[in-house]
Symmetry: C2
Subunit: 349 residues, 2 copies
C-alpha cells in the first residue's frame, strides 16, 4: 500500500537524499554520475552499489540545477524564418533528430524575417542560456549575433548569411543554381524570362538575382524582375503576380525565387488560365511536394536539405565541444540540384 503510493508520488529526491540513503557523500555520487569514478578511483563495488540504488529509487539529477552550476543547458536554439514553410520544417526535423542523438534538445521559433521580433527571441534564448544557435537570420541582427559569439555562444547561420559577422554559415550556391536554371530555359528556347523574387536584401535572394542577371546578360536577353514584399498575405502576393504577368504578355518563362512564391505563382497562372509550359514555362527555387504532382510537374532547384542539416549540426557541435574558441569562421556552400520536369520542357516553335 505504502509502496504503491510512493511510486506514484515520485517525491523528487535529490543527490543529498540519495547520499544519505547510501551513507556516503553527494560528491561521490556526483563523481560517479559524471564519469569520474575511474579518475577519482572510486571502488567499483561502490559504483555498483550507487548505480543500483539510483536505478531502484529512480533518481534523476535535476537538470536545472546542473545547468545553473555548469552553465551548460544542452539546449540549442533554432530560429527559422517560418516553421510552416516545408523547407524550414524539413530542416528543423533533421536538425532536431541529429541534436537529440547528441544529447541536445531544441528550442525553436519562427522569426518571420522580422528583426525586432528576432532580437526579442534571441534575448529569450539567451535568458534561457541556450548553448548554441542555428539561425536563418533576417537582416539587421549583425550586432546581436556578434554579441552572442563574443559571449562564447557559437552561432551557425543558414539559408543566408550576414555580412561582417563572425558567425559560421552554411548556404547553397544560389547564384550558380539560378544561373543554371536560366540557361536551361534558354537552351529550351525561352527568351523572355522573368524572375519573380522577394523585395529583400538577404544574401540568398541577392545571389539568386545575380545568377539570373548573369545568365540573361550572357545571352543578351532583357531582364524582367518583379520584387514582391515578404510581409503580406498570400492573396496579395497572387494579385501582384497576376498583375505583373498581365502587364508583360511577352513573357514565355518565369523563375520563382522561393517555394512559396512558386506556389503563389502557380495559383496566379491558374487564375490567368495560362498553360504551362505552352504559354509560360515555370521553374521554382526550392522543391515542394506540390511541384512533383502538379500538371505539368514543375522544374525546381532543389536544395540538399539532408546535407545542410548535417553540416549545420556538425559545425555547431564542433564548436560546442572544442575549447578552442579562436577558430576562424567556418562556412560551406553546397550545390542545389536542378530537377528538370515538364514545366520547362522544350516546346515546338
Amino acid at each position: 500500500m505504502d509502496n504503491l503510493k510512493k511510486k506514484n508520488l515520485k517525491k523528487k529526491l535529490s543527490i543529498v537524499d540519495l547520499a544519505k540513503q547510501l551513507n556516503i557523500s553527494p560528491t561521490t555520487i556526483s563523481f560517479i554520475l559524471n564519469g569520474k569514478a575511474q579518475e577519482k578511483r572510486i571502488s567499483s563495488e561502490l559504483v555498483e552499489r550507487v548505480l543500483k540504488q539510483i536505478e531502484e529509487v529512480g533518481y534523476k539529477p535535476n537538470a536545472l540545477a546542473q545547468s545553473l552550476r555548469t552553465g551548460k543547458t544542452m539546449i540549442i536554439g533554432l530560429m527559422v524564418e517560418n516553421i510552416a514553410n516545408p523547407f524550414f520544417a524539413n530542416i528543423a526535423r533533421l536538425i532536431e533528430e541529429k541534436a537529440y542523438k547528441n544529447g541536445y534538445k531544441i528550442i525553436y521559433c519562427s522569426t518571420d524575417n522580422d528583426s525586432a521580433k528576432t532580437k526579442d527571441l534571441l534575448r529569450i534564448f539567451q535568458d534561457r542560456h541556450v548553448d548554441g544557435y542555428i539561425i536563418s537570420p533576417p537582416e539587421g541582427i549583425e550586432k546581436e549575433v556578434d554579441g552572442l559569439i563574443d559571449n562564447g555562444s557559437p552561432v551557425v547561420l543558414f539559408d543566408r548569411y550576414l555580412h561582417d559577422t563572425k558567425a559560421d554559415f552554411i548556404v547553397v550556391d544560389n547564384a550558380g543554381s539560378t544561373y543554371e536554371a536560366v540557361n536551361h530555359l534558354v537552351k529550351n528556347g525561352y527568351k523572355n524570362i522573368a524572375f519573380i523574387t522577394l523585395d529583400s536584401l538577404q544574401t540568398q535572394m541577392q545571389d539568386r538575382l545575380k545568377g539570373y542577371e548573369k545568365a540573361l546578360n550572357e545571352h543578351a536577353l532583357s531582364h524582367h524582375v518583379k520584387e514582391i514584399s515578404y510581409y503580406q498575405e498570400e492573396e496579395n502576393i497572387i494579385r501582384h503576380i497576376v498583375a505583373f504577368l498581365e502587364r508583360k504578355p511577352e513573357l514565355d518563362a518565369v523563375l520563382f525565387g522561393t517555394n512559396y512564391l512558386g506556389v503563389s505563382g502557380l495559383k496566379a497562372i491558374k487564375k490567368l488560365n495560362k498553360r504551362v509550359p505552352e504559354d509560360l514555362a515555370v521553374i521554382s527555387f526550392d522543391d515542394h511536394t506540390l511541384f512533383e504532382l502538379h500538371s505539368p510537374d514543375i522544374t525546381a532547384i532543389s536544395q540538399p536539405i539532408e546535407e545542410i542539416s548535417e553540416k549545420l549540426i556538425t559545425i555547431l557541435l564542433g564548436r560546442l565541444n572544442k575549447t578552442s574558441k579562436a577558430k576562424k569562421t567556418q562556412s560551406a556552400v553546397l550545390a542545389p540540384e536542378l530537377i528538370v520536369r515538364g514545366s520547362s520542357r522544350k516546346i515546338k516553335a
Copy 2:
C-alpha cells in the same frame, strides 16, 4: 575605452552585484522585480532608482536560477507526430506564437508515433521541468501521461486522445466529417468507395474508419478498406496503394485518411494513369497546398487549425495559471469543413 569594453564584455551581473551598486539588499530588488513593491511598500523613489540602474547596466535575471528556485520554467513541451507534416507544422507555428505572447517558450519534438521514443522525450522534457505539455500522442503512453498529471504538470492532447487518461484533449469530429465526405461521394453517384487509411488504433483513425463504415452501411454499399503501416518509406506506401487500386478495378472513388496518404495516393494514381475523377474520385482528410493546385483540385476535409491551436493553448494556460488542480478533464470536439473541389464532382453516367 574601458566603457566600451565593458559593454562588449557583458559581464553577467547578478542581483547581488546590482544590490551592491545601489547599496541596498538583493531582497528589495527581487521584490521590485516581482511586482511586490506595492505590497512591501517600497518607496516609489527607490523603485525608480532601481529600475533606472537595471536599465543602465542591462541587468537580466538568470532564468535558470529563477526556475531552480520557483520550479517554473515558462517552457511548454510540444510533441507532434512529425514537424515536417504541414498539418503539424502549421499547428506548431500557431501554438508557438500564442505561447510567446503569454511569456512561454516552446521546446518541441517529433514523436514519429513511436511510443518508446516518446517516452524518452517525455523524460527529457520532465528533466528540463517544462511547465506543461501539448501532445499528439502515440498509443501506449497512457501511464506516462497520467504520471505527469499526477506530478502536477498539465497535459493537453490533440489530433487524437488516449482512453483512460486524465489528460485534456482537443480533437475534431473525425467520424462525422468522414461520414459526410462519403455521403457527398454517394450523392455524386459513386458507389465503390475505398478508404485508404493507417494501420493504427489511434482514436482519430478509428473514428474516421467508423464514419466511413457508417455511411457505407446506410447506403448498403460494400466496404473497401486498405490499412497501411505508418512505419515505412513513402515509396513503399505508394507501392501498396498502387497494388490495392490494381486489385480493385471496380473502385470509383477513394477516401484517404490523412494528408500524406492523400499525397502518396495521388502519386499512385498518377502512376496508374487513372483520371480523376473520371476513373476515380478522390477525397483526402486534411487540406494541403497541393490539393488546391492539383488538376483537378482535390476535395478535402479541412481541419480548423487556428481554432485547434487556440483551444489548446487556452486550456493549457488555464491549467497553468489556476491553482485548482482538481478540475475535471476538459475536452472539445471541433468541426472540420468539407471543401468540395473537382476531384469528387458528379460525373455524367
